[in-house]
Symmetry: D2
């Protein structure tokens, strides 16, 4: 039975809607609306056990997954995003040892997820034109101890990537069509890319830009619907996220100098 | 530029609806409705290039991801399933080095995906009560060269798992509520499990069985909606998959001998 | 060009999210966060024109449809409900002259919609066991000038309906299975009924209770997804209503004393 | 108990997937894959009763609603469409006595639904530029005995409507933006219109064309998800219709010569 060590990050769970990432630390307290939790009580407690707040409420000490850590990194909008992350990782075939480019680091949620998937032998090159975002992402990656699997480049992806023959590329930019040529140049032949965009117009322009460079182009959106499971009263949840964005997947083909005789569509 | 080697598996792509996993092999032919492809022409061709069939149609030589390989393993129903696989892998935090149990190998699609995620240092223990399914899954894993990361056990998961302190558990059984106690016994404290079930009644009974053993219980379904992207005529696809199954996620808590003073829900 | 008359109800429209049903009345004022609207300015104004508030904001004077009037009757939850109302009216074939029973008046939103659909020659018999709800519904119907097309009965639908050979029946009760026999007794042979229920367990029990009494049983849910339409930036809305309830439709068959030889399903 | 009369149309129901509109007629037979039904046996039978085919299968004699009659009029694609028809009728406030314009008769499914909703005192003016469609729709309306409530005009809606001050307008054209000016001219002030379009680009252009002429513009799509209800095994259906089209609703405002001081959005 593994116990929490000094300085370790845990997920403190009160109920479905109230959970926090906290660091187990002697001499520190965590204040909530249902009392104070002494964080040194967590040090040495087994994962899965609970501690009581000063008002007598139980807080469960849970193991934080990469998802918990990403969703708690002060990026409230990303809460909606895990469905898309998991889907992209699987569709791109990103696995231990993969070398991957990300265009658009943003706050680094996907960067961390990619890093977690390629470790320990793979690597992520993530491009971010805005220096302040590049810095936040670097800090977040360090906190997650994933920084050694990532190179964050404060550069414009449209100018091209410094890498070549990478296994997969993920694009999360406002104007993805502008980097399709760069993506094509850096990706291994026959390998996959993915792009995330909120609007219909973005996917239309992006798919247009892929013509002749990529095949197996597929655009979709992923919707998650929560269920309220109660004995004899189960039903879907009353509200749901209606939209985060569209995902476009495609595979690089080598461009040819001579036209084909026929093509079947 | 990497070229296809003798005996390598590639994804042969004619169009969005016609793609096949084939083995590049001297002296072999692949017959399609638009002509014959000589597979020895593929050997030595770069990934992303194309070959012509005897009727002059272009076939692109693409790199097969784990998803392509799983979805082509003679399990037509699994085509709907990649959204769920990616989501589960990410939510369970399965990563290189993880030790994972699967209850219900089935044809091994999820088994292979788990193996691909935990390699090279992790391991998957997959339980399957039906010996014929255990055998098919073993063969599929060998074909994918993932067999060394998996131990398939032809045993009843309800009788308990031989492993303990595993990082995550995935359940794909008709009666998941019957293995909740086994799952609790084998899982690390505070760590996650997931269960996949097609019917509402299954999720209701499963969630019921989790009471007092698991917290952070969440049931949801993931819907994928394809878009038909055409310049000036973009719209959602006319038909979609309405349902594959519900996913239930939960985290193990240690059971207590004494009741808590209060609880906040 | 029709102008608003003294005492007429209009829909006062500020923007997409701010619209109110108000009565055009000399000497009255309507207070909003963007100024006061003098309601006597509305009297004599043409529909579609606008009035200015004291702070200079334009308010459009719109014609209130039955839907506007229902959704504004102090029943905030019903805002989600118009998709279901329209669908039920059409599926039940409710039209001018129809005689219809409603089991479960509630606040009378569906009652008013049914009345509006059957007028001027048809009639609605609506059963409500809770007298306070029956009274509120009566008041709402009077306000909408639909009271002459409706008889509200403060009675338990489970005890049977006083009417027979009605054209259609709508059920909105917590335990619809308890009134299936009453519904069967009161409905014309071969005619349709509909039932609205939020939970899966309700639809399961209701469909069960229909066996041998109804055919063509179909349960579905209707989801509405809003689009944010902006030039070059169109996308689905970020949030949506995930669930209101399930609709079950069925048609009455006459019960037989002798079993059939065969049946094809 | 009402019995079927000679020449009456009934819905003959074998099972959920096999139902037909047939005319009860002496001396006629109806051939199916499970035997022949003598249609004269239906004449004089009560609605809700059943007849046996020559192979001993039961066929239920059901009362056909307007929906059944529309969906069986040799327009297979319209099967998906009832959700949209019911929603539009309710949102437009179409009721007995309404005067309504339809731009784009097509095969007349919506035309018949509108006619059924406005009868006996209202009227539908339906514009169709293609003469062959205008004729098919006329025949369908006659068969449904709704022809006296409809005037079909074989004319181009873009050239303007011959009517004015109508209560509501429904547009089902490939280029709805081209008729927005005509719609504005013919509609009563403050009254609603609706437009149906399959593609995103259509709604974008249509909403654009409404600026300054309409307010309360809302675009949405309506999705229907069927449930497979079976005791202890209830679940959503495996496949569903992913898309029929988007609905855009709006209300006419009078155009002004002078600009407003402020506007709140």
């Amino acid at each position: 039975m593994r116990v929490v060590t000094e300085g370790e990050i845990v997920l403190l769970y009160l109920n479905e809607k109230k959970k926090w990432l906290v660091q187990a630390r002697s001499g520190k307290e965590f204040h909530t609306h249902v009392g104070v939790v002494k964080l040194e009580e967590i040090v040495g407690s087994p994962f899965g056990s609970s501690v009581k707040s000063t008002l007598g409420f139980d807080f469960h000490i849970l193991f934080p997954t990469i998802r918990d850590q990403i969703l708690s990194s002060r990026r409230p909008t990303q809460v909606l995003y895990d469905k898309d992350i998991g889907f992209v990782l699987f569709r791109l075939g990103v696995t231990s040892g993969s070398v991957v480019i990300e265009a658009g680091t943003g706050s680094g949620a996907m960067t961390a997820s990619l890093a977690n998937a390629v470790k320990p032998e793979g690597h992520v090159y993530s491009y971010e034109i805005r220096s302040e975002f590049a810095e936040i992402a670097s800090r977040n990656l360090a906190r997650l101890r994933l920084e050694k699997y990532v190179t964050i480049k404060n550069a414009d992806a449209r100018a091209g990537f410094g890498e070549s023959d990478v296994d997969a590329i993920f694009v999360d930019l406002g104007d993805p069509w502008d980097v399709i040529a760069s993506v094509h140049a850096a990706l291994k032949g026959g390998h996959p890319m993915a792009s995330f965009s909120p609007t219909v117009n973005q996917i239309e322009r992006t798919v247009q830009a892929m013509k002749g460079k990529f095949v197996d182009v597929e655009t979709l959106e992923c919707l998650v619907r929560n269920m309220r499971v109660e004995e004899g009263r189960t039903r879907p949840a009353t509200t749901m996220i209606g939209h985060t964005g569209y995902l476009t997947f495609a595979r690089k083909i080598l461009e040819r100098s001579e036209p084909s005789v026929r093509s079947a569509t």
